[in-house]
Subunit: 358 residues, 2 copies
DNA sequence: TTGTAGGCGTTATCAG
DNA sequence: CTGATAACGCCTACAA
């Protein structure tokens, strides 16, 4: 045993540096071992798996740890084990309220299960996303991708290195959490049909959005079932501004009801139509998707197909953590668990009975 | 040199585990050293400080590193140095849109400067906040506290261990980023005065909110200057719902204009007043604070005193990172740098000329 | 059940 | 300018 200097003494006496390097309790398992009168390795055992040590030694060690208010050094632990107790969350756009609830859901389960969450955004770019993902790979145990913009192969490549859970998209061989659009959409379309509408327009989202495609499919199917005509319009970007821009096409389409890829588009569309003197919902009904924060601030309040985003976030985190702990069957071969959550129609004032033209 | 086993061979040959432990390139400085024909320590030097090694060796090493697509192991690095290239951000409420921009601002500068951001929330609780902060201390180089709910002493205690930057509050001896309310408030009050108002109410926020106190002071001062009467009302919570609840008191107060602690309160208040048949701004003017997402969705759109939240987030991150790199003077004694950002009035439809009662 | 010893990948201190 | 060598704090066979 070489003891070149007494580190503990130095630690307590010298407040030379403004910030102590370790920052926390700077007590190590060696200190505990000394206090408890056992070997450091025994301390290590006692503190990781509560089974591999005698009851009395256990208590001895735990007391010593408490007294020194010991906290493991995550880095020292990560080095030999590779486990970091950290996972990453990458969202497409931090300022898009759609992701707020996802972030919160994930963060909540993270702290609940004593994990740390690292956040990054892709700014709606597949390239940025990939970069962010790579950056993270070094420091996390797993990754959650919310509405990823990179392609399936990139995702699978990443998933080969570390467990990955995807939200708002289905990727073969990767566990996913996806809202099942059908229920919500059929409720919406049925409501529209019941209110005398015959032609509905769907304003699509970004081309690389998996969800947009699903929603359009859902709208088509529901319309067919209700014998409504469905037309598809394109948007420039899935924002309020994009909604404003598409108003022109909406009017030209002749549809009396419109579903938009997301609430942001719906809000912008509504603003623009109202600015042009149209009365909602008397002349045209508008239905959004997601039920984001603020969807009920508008006049009239926005009817929307709600996705339980918070649930998606916490669900994804739970899935990932279970995966990490091996609590989950890894599935047969490449079959991965995919968690489906329900959507539902939230009926507000922006949709309703179509008044006869006057 | 003890070489019990050849680790590199084992690493490349055995894809036994589904996920490789390191996840990334698993090349170490030893591999590089071997390829470049130098000593590992030389590699370390070359890769950290570009000055301490001869130009040719430098290039040799860099090439080898590139070839093996080497990436440092953050944990191995953190162990001897204590530096993690990570900072934490704790916000009072993840779902409160006020923090969205702060989060984004901080995250953006983080990735820009090659840092990783860890996110946590306090759920508006000082205790939770302290816990979260302690948890983080072990893994981060510094901390940003956005609208902290714990008391000054706790903050200072933490700040003694690691650099801390506070947003939306001033704490002695701790660097802070705070919006300077005066400009925005005086613009607002002046506008109100010019529109024939004589009595304004201020709806306060949470008692432990530093910002709420500042805003009330600002309102009082501005009103005095403009010779308006100012009354203060209390809210139960700083949310839309809290705004609805305070509507009663607002009407009872006899004020014809009201400023609320934040936009959420303003929106709720507006909804409730309108539900009671009041016309805004003809009968009463409403002004919020912050200019959050959705503030312009309301009817009428909300007039508000905007704080540049994104700037606060990025400003705080920049401050922290500069502090970390010693680029900033630590101030004389306990004097810490505090960054002030301007606020401004955003005039929209919810405030305006008071119509004679009719 | 507990102690011993070596290693995880980097940095830092000393010699040379 | 470069090479050896000892930490950093924890984990884990292996041995006792």
């Amino acid at each position: 045993m070489t003891e070149p200097k007494t580190p503990d003494a130095a630690a307590t006496t010298g407040p030379a540096k403004k910030h102590s390097r370790s920052g926390k309790s700077n007590a190590t398992i060696y200190d505990i071992a000394k206090v408890a009168g056992v070997n450091p390795s025994t301390v290590s055992r006692a503190l990781s798996k509560p089974g591999r040590v005698s009851a009395k030694t256990q208590k001895l060690i735990e007391d010593a740890a408490a007294e020194l208010n010991y906290q493991v050094n995550p880095f020292a632990r990560a080095l030999p084990t590779g486990r970091t107790n950290t996972f990453g969350l990458i969202v497409a756009d931090i300022t898009n309220p759609t992701f707020f609830d996802i972030i919160r859901g994930a963060e909540t389960t993270a702290t609940l299960r004593d994990y740390t969450m690292v956040l990054a955004e892709s700014a709606e770019s597949g390239v940025t996303e990939l970069t962010a993902a790579r950056r993270m790979m070094a420091t996390v145990d797993g990754l959650i991708l919310a509405s990823p913009r990179m392609d399936d192969d990139d995702i699978r490549t990443i998933a080969r290195d570390k467990p990955v859970v995807v939200i708002n998209r289905e990727v073969d061989g990767v566990p996913c959490v996806v809202p099942d659009v059908n229920k919500g959409i059929s409720e919406a379309v049925r409501s529209l049909a019941g209110n005398g509408h015959h032609k509905v327009a769907f304003v699509a989202g970004p081309p690389q959005s998996w969800m947009s495609a699903r929603r359009w499919e859902g709208v088509q199917a529901a319309c067919e079932w209700s014998r409504l005509e469905a037309v598809r319009l394109e948007s420039t970007k899935p924002t309020v501004d994009g909604g404003r821009q598409v108003a022109r096409d909406v009017r030209a389409s002749g549809a009396t009801a419109v579903l938009t890829y997301n609430d942001l588009l719906a809000i912008g569309l509504m603003q623009e139509l109202q600015a042009a003197g149209m009365v909602i919902p008397d002349q045209i009904s508008i239905v959004g998707f997601d039920d984001i924060f603020g969807a009920d601030f508008t006049t009239p309040p926005l009817t929307t197909v709600r996705s339980p985003l918070g649930e998606c976030g916490s669900g994804a985190a739970t899935l990932l953590l279970d995966l990490l702990h091996g609590d989950l069957p890894r599935g047969t071969g490449e079959t991965a668990a995919t968690l489906r959550v329900e959507t539902e129609l939230v009926l507000r004032g922006s949709s309703g009975r179509l008044l006869p033209a006057g």
